[in-house]
């Protein structure tokens, strides 16, 4: 966020942009060799080559006659959310809602998309313009009549990471027409690693496990020492298991019995809530009549709203 002070409206450094010219063929809207290379690198095949240029042009970029990519960005953002949520929801049927939301941010958040874009070479291809006083003056219709002259204006500065993340969303949006979004998302975004255990941050796993067992009407969990090594030495190892009757719910190691017990309770919660389903068919993969006939919907578990 930058606090921009009121600037003098009499300072007219108005530059004629290409929008004021009357030619349709703008030389600035040529597809650079970097863009061709990017399309080949990511296996993007679009019907019209200028679509990709449009996707990669940020809304702050003036010097273009192409239409805005905002529509594609919103479409891409929602499509990304759909495919990732579908995947996570089916893969982890019992994941609690806040964990699911964190995992979702991990895959589709701006930071992750920006990281992906940087690794793929998008920073050499995006067209954007940082927000400066002159830029704002040029686009003064945004706030000219709304803000009184004495108050400073809060405007969110546009950074390259933001631009890259938004252009990834736009690229997903333009692929949607050719029905290539699912493949792109599964190849490049869902193949990335998000440790699902990191979404669940527990201060007191023991309390949570006791509550879970009560809810499931099962025996109260008991921690038992399964094994130990070097108890009186400088590097002891204790292995603790959590049991509900005869079933082991979780296991943990530690250099103290307390730590081993903590890890065991945490492991028990991971084993239950973050259980992974290995074999599943995504509903969005069902795209032919035969597949539809053979499709067996995966059972989705009862996700808890809170943990």
């Amino acid at each position: 966020m930058t606090f921009l002070t009121h600037f003098n409206k009499n300072n007219r450094n108005y530059v004629k942009t290409s929008r004021n010219k009357n030619n349709n063929d703008n030389e600035e809207d040529t597809i650079s060799p970097q863009l061709y290379a990017l399309a080949a690198r990511l296996n993007i095949r679009v019907s019209h080559p200028k679509l990709l240029l449009q996707a990669v042009t940020h809304k702050t970029y003036d010097n273009t006659t192409l239409p805005s990519s905002e529509g594609f960005r919103v479409l891409g953002n929602h499509a990304l959310g759909l495919y990732v949520t579908e995947y996570l929801h089916i893969k982890y049927p019992l994941i609690p809602l806040p964990c699911l939301q964190k995992a979702l941010t991990g895959y589709c958040g701006h930071v992750s998309l920006a990281a992906f874009g940087q690794e793929v070479g998008l920073q050499h291809v995006v067209r954007w313009h940082p927000i400066t006083d002159e830029y704002l003056y040029k686009h003064s219709k945004i706030y000219s009549n709304m803000v009184p002259e004495d108050k400073p204006v809060k405007i969110k500065q546009v950074t390259i990471s933001n631009v890259i993340a938004e252009s990834v969303q736009s690229i997903i949006g333009i692929l949607y027409k050719d029905n290539a979004t699912q493949k792109f998302i599964h190849d490049h975004i869902l193949s990335r690693e998000v440790k699902i255990q990191d979404t669940m941050h527990l201060e007191d796993p023991q309390k949570e496990l006791f509550a879970l067992m009560r809810r499931k009407e099962r025996a109260q969990p008991i921690a038992r020492l399964k094994g130990e090594s070097g108890a009186l030495s400088s590097n002891p190892v204790f292995v603790v298991g959590i049991y509900s009757d005869i079933d082991q719910l979780g296991e943990g190691y530690g250099s103290s019995k307390k730590m081993a017990e903590f890890r065991a309770f945490r492991d028990a919660l991971h084993q239950y809530y973050l259980k992974e389903v290995k074999d599943f068919t995504l509903p969005s993969s069902v795209n032919s009549p035969e597949a539809q006939a053979n499709f067996k919907p995966t059972e989705i578990g009862d996700t808890t709203p809170k943990l």
Partner: protein, 137 residues
């Protein structure tokens, strides 16, 4: 345990789709010098088919007068690898261009000490036949 406000995903190139690591190859040559003769022959015969086979690489040809011919590859992690191809014929230049194309930006030396790069490294080290003592009766 990652206690950050939000999680960031880590890349796993090849697990889903494969992203080619070499993004740009720049060829420098001299019009007059003798060491660039092979390079100029390479441009005439082999460069364009190579460029067609590799649409994901941006190829730049720039004259660099009074200098030896150079092939410079730039990778997605912004590292560069240069190979001087002075006095070589097109076949040998092709081999070096192929080498630059196949490489990633990482230093080759570090891959000998750490041949496997993984987010889940093995706890006791990867098995090697040189550190075993087979059981003998």
């Amino acid at each position: 345990m990652n206690k950050a406000k939000f999680l960031v995903s880590k890349p796993k190139n090849g697990v889903g789709g494969f992203v080619f690591q070499c993004r740009k190859i720049e060829f420098n040559y001299c019009e007059r010098s003798g060491s660039s003769r092979g390079m100029i022959e390479y441009f005439k015969t082999k460069l364009i088919p190579f460029a067609k086979r590799n649409p994901q690489i941006e190829i730049i040809v720039t004259p660099r007068p009074s200098k030896h011919p150079l092939v410079r590859g730039t990778y997605l992690n912004e590292m560069q690898k240069d190979i001087c191809v002075k006095n070589l014929d097109p076949k040998e230049i092709d081999k070096y261009v192929q080498l630059i194309r196949d490489n990633t930006g990482y230093k080759a030396k570090s891959r000998f000490k750490k041949p496997v790069i993984s987010t889940t490294p093995s706890v006791r080290g990867i098995w090697s036949p040189f550190n075993t003592r087979p059981h003998i009766i």
